[in-house]
Symmetry: C2
Subunit: 313 residues, 2 copies
């Protein structure tokens, strides 16, 4: 059973999606597994199905190495099916893992929205950075609960997923102020609170879209509380926290026709010190740096997804 | 003598030029006056010529209210011609003022480049923000003096004059690394020094392109010396220092087809506290905050260019 071509075809749109947040892409990952498993005969050998799952999981993780929910989705599917004895078992257990993960994502987002409601000061300007489905659902939830406020966001160059955020909030009736990223310093002093999603949380800090470091620094300088919103499916071990460092996109996404002699740097993620945040809003409440340890220490990694040269916990 | 139409035609390309620095636009302002004066008959009444100069000067200052060299150029022309008794006198004195200003700009740039040479650590990465002809000439001067270093710059959204900077440095044989503005936090830790031009210097601080505040904050956080380069033709009185605040560009320059409900903020300038800089490099050497006073207190403003509601010094 050779599924190479199908895996590549299914993973390509996920890899090329530069404007969706990590939780949103994990939902696309769930569809990816379901499509892949849908046409496997039930009399297939279990080891062959597991091999497809390993191959699919590696491809999915490689598509967005900084996005923890994608890693955990892949990891959960592999761990759940590791001891299955038949093809039907593999597929049933994989399906259960996918459903469980989907439920977890939705319940996290809902619980986070409840916590965020209390953090939004009525009548004020609220800054939101990049694109995060968790941030969107939290802001729209607060609005639906009749809390009035205006949202401020910036482009998030080069993919400009900030435009997606602005359009989505505006189409739901929220007043939005939009500007370019470097104008954060002009508009932040008028904001009372700032929110961002994140791709990954670990002991070394929070990994998020480039620009988050400047945002966090400016918020600290101006005394504006900045919260990262993340379900615990974003938590990773220390080594995986730095996977984002190798992730560089083509320079032409920044400057399509750069002259010769100009090298384009197009990194996507950066690490923000936990101490610069007012807190991490999770489904278990608002966590501080000291709380991270207990979630990180419980994580188990399937051997197929272990990092090269890293110790498997 | 009605020159309204000609003034508007000549000032439009200057007003629409969003990628040139203040010193460069002042040079274009000199050409603007020369073209305007070239066809005035020598038997014209002196008051009529002065009226044209006042009108032209107001239009020029209004085109870029944050750019001090443009204000000083206009102010110098008006002060020089104030007491002229004939049309020929007005034109001779205006021409002398223009030549003097041009010489001053060139000599400032040259003296600044000499000071900057000593600030560039050989073999290192040097950050440069936005576009400033003074920064370009200083970096190219250092390179021509056989000091090897690489330049790092960012786009400077929305006009992206950072691309102009990158292209100009690269076309002169310099290795350039270019990225988007919010990635400053990723590349600055590898830089040893940072330079920016500025539009205006006053006791309240330095006015420069939006993004400079974040750059200065990041440099302070990372311990990277940031120098603003500015001839003393950039110095203004306290009131004029805030002229930039009213200057807002059309939102469509940031997002051409923004959906309804999204308000675009497209401010161009911001104020950076002097204390965040390592120094201001002028033709008189590297100045600190305490040195600004003596240059500011000497400034005289022609009554036609006085700000409404402001006291004329």
């Amino acid at each position: 059973m050779n599924k190479d071509k199908q895996i590549e075809e299914l993973v390509t749109p996920i890899r090329d999606d530069l404007t969706s947040g990590a939780a949103e892409l994990a939902l696309q990952g769930i569809k990816f597994y379901r499509t892949l498993l849908s046409d496997i005969p039930h009399d297939e050998k279990p080891e062959a199905v597991k091999k497809v799952l390993v191959q699919a999981s590696k491809a999915l993780v490689k598509a967005h190495p900084a996005m923890a929910p994608i890693f955990h989705l892949a990891n959960d599917v592999l761990l759940a099916t590791r001891d299955a004895k038949s093809a039907s078992d593999v597929m049933r257990l994989a399906d259960e893992a996918l459903t469980k993960f989907e439920t977890r994502l939705c319940e996290s987002a809902s619980a986070i929205a409840d916590h965020v409601y209390d953090l939004i000061p009525a009548g004020e300007l609220v800054f939101a950075y990049s694109f995060s489905s968790t941030v969107v659902s939290s802001l729209l939830h607060a609005r639906s609960q009749r809390k009035f406020f205006r949202a401020v966001c910036s482009e998030a160059r080069p993919s400009q997923e900030g435009r997606k955020l602005a359009a989505m909030l505006a189409s739901n009736g929220m007043e939005v102020i939009h500007t370019f990223d470097s104008a954060m310093g002009l508009i932040l002093p008028q904001c009372r609170v700032a929110f961002m999603g994140c791709d990954c949380v670990g002991r070394p800090g929070i990994v998020n879209k480039v620009g988050s470091w400047l945002l966090a620094l400016a918020c600290r300088e101006l005394g504006i509380p900045l919260y990262a919103l993340a379900g615990t499916e974003k938590f990773v071990s220390d080594d995986r926290c730095f996977e984002f460092e190798d992730y560089e996109r083509p320079g032409k996404e920044v400057w399509p026709e750069a002259p010769s002699g100009v090298r384009i740097l197009n990194k996507q993620y950066e690490l923000i010190p936990f101490s610069w945040l007012a807190g991490l809003v999770t489904e278990h409440g608002i966590l501080q740096e000291k709380d991270i340890e207990k979630y990180v220490s419980k994580l188990e990694t399937h051997e197929a997804l272990a990092l090269e040269g890293a110790l498997i916990g």
